[in-house]
Each structure stands twice: as C-alpha cells, then as structure tokens.
Amino acid sequence: MESVDLLYKAIYILVIFGITLLIATYSTYFERKIAAFIQDRVGPNRAGPAGLLQPLADAGKLFFKEDFIPARANKALFILGPGIAMLVATMSSAVIPYGDMLLVDGREIYLQAIEVNIGVLYIFGVVSLGVYGLMIGGWASNNKFSLLGAIRAASQNISYEIAMGLSLIAVLMMTGSLSLREIAAQQAGFNWNIWYQPLGFLIFLVCAFAETNRTPFDLPESEAELIGGYHTEYGSMKLGMYLFAEYINIFVASSVMATLYFGAYNFPFMFELEAWLVDATDSVVTANNIVTLLGVGFMFVKIFLFIFFFMWVRWTLPRFRYDQLMKLGWKILIPLAILNILLTGGGILLKDYLF
C-alpha cells in the first residue's frame, strides 16, 4: 500500500472514530429527550440552547468527581474493566462499510476501515469479548451485587450469542460471503436482505438488544434488585466509560443491523440517479462521488432510526424476569433461528429448482 493510501485510510479511521464518539455522546442527550417526550416531560433544557451542551456538562461532572476505588477491590482489574469495555466497543466499527467507493485523484477509496474476508466473524468475535469488561469490573469490585450483575451479564451474552450466530447463518447462506463489503454490495438498490430474512432480522434484533444489555434485557444492571449491577462500586469517569461503552455498542449494533439487513449504504433508485447524474454533470467521477456520499447519508439515517428504536423500546417495555429471559433465549429464539436456517435452505433449493 502506498503512503497516500495509508494517509487516506488513517484519516478515514480517525473520522469514523470521532463520529462514533460523537454519536455515543449525543445518544445520551437524545435518550433523555426521547424519554422526556414519551413521559410527557421537557427533558434537559438548561445547558446551552435546548440543552444541547448537556453531554459536555455530564462529562465535565464525571471527570471532576472523586475517582474512588474500594479498599478491598482488586485494584488493577478494577481499573482494567471499564478500559476493556471501551476498547472492545470501539473495535467493531472497523469492518463496517459506511459507504461505497469514492474516486479522488483517480484513486479508489473504499469507505471501510479494513476489508477482511471474515468481516462477520470479526464482529462476532469482538461482540463476544464485550462481556469481559463487565465480568472483570463486576468481580474486581469485591461486592456481591456487582458479582451477580457480572454473572448475569455473562450468562445472558453467551445465551443470546448462539441465537444471534444462527440467525446470521441464514444471511450468510444467501450471500455466500463473510465479507461485509460483499454483503453490502449484494443488496444494491432496494434488494435488501430484510425482504428475504424477516424472521432472521427479528431474531437478530432481539439478540442485539440482549447483547447491548438494553431494556428489556438490562438484567445485569437492574437497579431495583442489584443496586446497579456490575457497576455498583464505580464512580467518576470509570462509570462514565461503562455507560459510554453501552452507547457505542448501540451505535455499532445499529450499524451492523443496517449493513446486514437494511442494505447498508444502498438506497432505492441509486443506479437511475447515477445514470441521470452522469448525463447531467458529464462526469462519471462526480456522479459516483455524489451517489456514494448520498449513500453514506442514507446509511446514517438508517443507523439513527435504529438508535431511536433502541430508545423507544427502552422507555416502552418493562424488564424481563431472569427465567423468562433464559426461556426466551434457549427455548424460543434458538429453535426459531434453526427453523429460519431450514426455511432459507429450502428457499434457496426451491429457487434453483424452479428457475
């Protein structure tokens, strides 16, 4: 790779990193605004116009609070916990294609940080590591409630990972590739996977809620029984890191769902638009770049809709009981996911037979 390509890649990675953090920051604001709207309140409105500086005020408050470590806690692991949570949360956006290809100075720049032919597995691996931040933090706190929260998080994540993986297999059977760029490219125009995989998407959505520990699956931190769960003993910015990692996870889960099922950067009539633009501007490069940037816009619109959906559900549904959670995961979602695989396989064979 040439140094210019490397430079573009570095800029792109930094931009995506910045956008991830920015979206996670403002997710906290919009979560409170949406909660306020749903509960017929006003929500944060003091810091800045319409309360827009609220996330900065929150971060400032967290940074200036006393950084407290319990006396009998395992100090190294206590500090390591939130760090791992943050690290793992920011890792997964590396393989997600946020856009197609830009043409700059005759170079093809793909709007994806790294292209690996196992992109889906990479995301899956990183997601499965997310639980370590919670477990290490919960155990190192040396507190029964923290430990219970951590154990709940671990068993919940492991249970729902299975259904998640099985629902993904149906998508992989259709696309025949593990590369996210390939999966995104196959959904060109309006040929999105959601039309073929409605059941798979539903399973994946439920599992995404469980993996990000969001209501109705926020058993690890259920404040009523566990006083806050795995982060009971945390304060200051360490607590902020845990909460921040959750919002980053929501952003990443939304990106993955948009990429796998809702056509990533593709939007209806994109080829017609590109053909028309080529005629209108007389330049293939400009037309391609305009369509690509529009695609990036559409990708982010889809991601924002999913983030809104996460928040909408949080303020609508009550929490599951623990045995209900396990029953849903093992006795409903996994058989449904296997059924979905069988149906998809049958559908593919039928299509080959008929056409």
């Binding site: 009998r72 395992n74 692991l77 690996v116 032919n117 196992i118 597995l121 990479y122 899956f124 691996g125 499965s128 590591l129 639980v131 370590y132 477990m135 290490i136 155990w139 040396n142 029964k144 430990l147 951590a150 154990i151 671990a154 068993s155 994540n157 492991i158 990972e161 593990l178």
Partner: protein
C-alpha cells in the same frame, strides 16, 4: 517485519502461558489464558489463516473462557480477599514428577521429528481462507467432520441428562 512480529508474538505467548501456571490468583490465571488465546490467534493471522484466528477468538476466548471465569468467580465468592491457592508438599512433588515425565515424552517425540518446510513456488497462500477450508472440510474430511458434530451432540445430550431435575425435586 513478519519474522520480528513472530518472535514478539511467540515470546508473548510463552510468557502469558507461564503466567497462567505461575500466578497465585485463579482469576489472573484465566485472564492470562485469554491473552494466550489472543496471541495464538495472532499466529494464525501470520499464517494467513484468518478463519481459524476468528473462530479461535469466538469459541475459546469468547465463550469457553467466559464460562471458566464464571465458575472461578462463583467459587471465590465465599472467601473473597485471600484467593491464594494452598498446595501441599505431596501434590507439589506429584506435579513435578508428572510434568517432568510429560516433558521427557515430548522431547523424545520431537527428537526424531523432521521439520516440514514449504516451497514458496507451490505454496498456496489462500489455503487458510474460509472458502478453501470449507471446501476441504466438506469433501476430503466429510466423515470426520460429521462424526465430530455427532460427538458434540452426544456430549450435549449427556450434559442435559446430568443437569436435568429429578422428578419431585423442588424448584430453586
């Protein structure tokens, strides 16, 4: 570049594997074992076997090690604080003798083994990719592959049988 990366990874692997045995705290041991799995995945990536690297992380670091940690954290709960393992002198002797025997067996096995090199001209760099791996698994090694899956099924049924509640036993 690749060579220095290999030596770095290899020394890290050995260091972490040693720390698994040497650290006094069982939770630290498990965490070092997780790092060991990561470094082994790094070796797979160096060998261009991306699929194995990812699956190693997902299965071992992501699932099995979580269960290890899970169990050890539960066992530690009662006597939190002093989690030092106490070993008697007899078990230390037994461990040393067993480990030494294993070491001798390994040395005698490796003494006569010849190192299989590879020829750069015929080497196929795509051999570790998921497509070629899947192709080999479902053609040349179909029977062992299916037998292994049946074995997993048997193990799963056995676990369910062992964990099943007896009739009349109280819930929770």
């Amino acid at each position: 570049m690749t060579e220095s990366l290999f030596y770095f990874l290899a020394s890290l692997t050995l260091l972490c594997a040693l720390m698994v045995v040497l650290s006094k705290n069982p939770v630290h041991s498990v965490l070092f074992l997780i790092i060991t799995f990561f470094t082994i995945s790094g070796h797979y990536v160096l060998l261009n076997a991306q699929f194995l690297a990812a699956v190693n992380i997902i299965v071992y670091a992501g699932a099995i090690m979580v269960l290890f940690l899970f169990v050890i954290m539960f066992l530690n709960m009662s006597k939190a604080g002093d989690s030092k393992i106490k070993t008697s002198t007899i078990s230390k002797f037994a461990g040393a003798i067993a480990g030494g025997l294993l070491f001798i067996v390994l040395i005698s096995a490796l003494k006569d083994a010849s190192v299989v090199g590879y020829t750069p001209e015929t080497y196929n760099s795509q051999v570790g990719m998921v497509e070629s791996l899947g192709y080999v698994l479902f053609t040349d090694y179909l029977l062992p592959f299916e037998l292994a899956s049946v074995l997993f099924l048997v193990a799963m049924v056995g676990a369910v049988m062992l964990g099943k509640k007896e009739e009349g036993e109280s819930h929770f």
